[in-house]
Symmetry: C2
Subunit: 308 residues, 2 copies
Amino acid sequence: MSLLVIGSVAFDAIETPFGKTDKIIGGAATYISLASSYFTDNINLCAVVGGDFPKENIKLLQEHGVDTEGLQVKEDEKTFFWSGKYHNDMNSRDTLVTELNVLGDFDPIIPEAYQNCEYLMLGNLSPQVQKTVIERLEKRPKLIALDTMNFWMDIAMDDLKEVLGMIDVLIINDEEARQLSKEYSLVKAAQKIMEMGPKYLVIKKGEHGALLFNEKQVYFCPALPLEEVFDPTGAGDTFAGGFIGYLAATDGLSFENFKRAVIYGSAMASFCVEKFGTEKLVGLEIPAIEKRVQEFIDLSQVELTLKS
Amino acid sequence: MSLLVIGSVAFDAIETPFGKTDKIIGGAATYISLASSYFTDNINLCAVVGGDFPKENIKLLQEHGVDTEGLQVKEDEKTFFWSGKYHNDMNSRDTLVTELNVLGDFDPIIPEAYQNCEYLMLGNLSPQVQKTVIERLEKRPKLIALDTMNFWMDIAMDDLKEVLGMIDVLIINDEEARQLSKEYSLVKAAQKIMEMGPKYLVIKKGEHGALLFNEKQVYFCPALPLEEVFDPTGAGDTFAGGFIGYLAATDGLSFENFKRAVIYGSAMASFCVEKFGTEKLVGLEIPAIEKRVQEFIDLSQVELTLKS
């Protein structure tokens, strides 16, 4: 099934306890596209970069089967730039620089060839832009998933709530779920958030795994205990990419298939954090992904009835 | 199989965002004994209280099948007292009062009838006392499990390391694992800790579940997402009680059986936090426990191969 990905394509500069990078390729849509490319080759990207964005990075996306007709290049402007520094525990970070640049007035243009997409992944962006994308699609996709962050809850909650009423799946982290719902308990938070629109909710808990909710069911996907988390940047976007890519590839919308999508998303995210930026998402092998997914399954598998 | 439980029997005064208690029954050995009593009726308690400890609380333990011959009552002294206040997120707390009282010079006397116990649970206490208990047993138990806390790492690390060399299973939380190993990654922490002696390590992560390690395997038990955590006091001890109680009852020392023990421990802990103190651990019904265990299993169960 065809997948339309919207989000930022950006430069990141990252500092972790293990080292720091110069400007490297980043952005939600980059991670989502790369991660989903291991599941489907029908990926259409809608985003914007400046003239400073290297052509070889666009080529890299194309080599992963990503159609970039919808990637606007504004030759006289600069690409969105984010710089951050992670604390020692890797669970929190300080944003050092945010330069919106081309993203400041991003007008998402949907090429004709992208119409009739069946799966839509709205990566973290202004809710206003996310809403515009939905409105510009002539036919509502089969499934619309959305990622967002606390920043938009702070400055554009009304817009966010409006777009939440238009989507099927919301993917956020535990802090964001608490902020959005004003509930500390994630069970209560989930109930409140699903009343806002989404039929499915994924709450990412970083090194503690992920929860999947629908109205009646809940699934807990563990996180693989890793020896080292090298750089968490993009892990959430990579999760979203693996998740939506798996759904688009399998085209199954049962809760069971959503559970598998959460595992695939988690597996992709576990690769992402092993190196800086998108490094590990380039040139991954399918057997390595399958092996990693099996590790996730084995991690929580238990046979209750036997005694030995 | 017979289970010997050592630890504090105490008074607690607890304040959470949901309310506060006067002095109520608490202490590691209390929670461990009550939780394990749902699995085995061969529980021997070694602890100490003062003359101020109500006889009906001792009777309560006896009604749960706990033998209290090893519970010393020092009529002229006072029972160990702890008071704490939980922060809004329930994940951290301030200790308001710690009065060691009878626990200050606790000399664990093992009644003759307690010798030859097969399972030994050393609840959180001074490592020196934990070591003394092991030394006073004429025959080494089949399995020795130990719980401890950061306090002992701060003031008695050498003693703690000595007793770690004498046990089979260590049960601690994630912060304690990091402090003990000086490693942030729990995988690395587990490796270092197992080099100190224990063949099995359980790392409790509170609302994020629990990890079980041996030299070659790892198991992740999810935590049930609860609508409300009312009072976390004793949850770790209750986990230990369910864990060791299940092992003593089933008498199986395979990794598979340890996994099940972790689930039973987690299920008992999930009951514990639903009310103040030990309230929920009194008069639980076995079918309710089995139902809760099944919820834990279902939470992470996934069928990878089918598409629907």
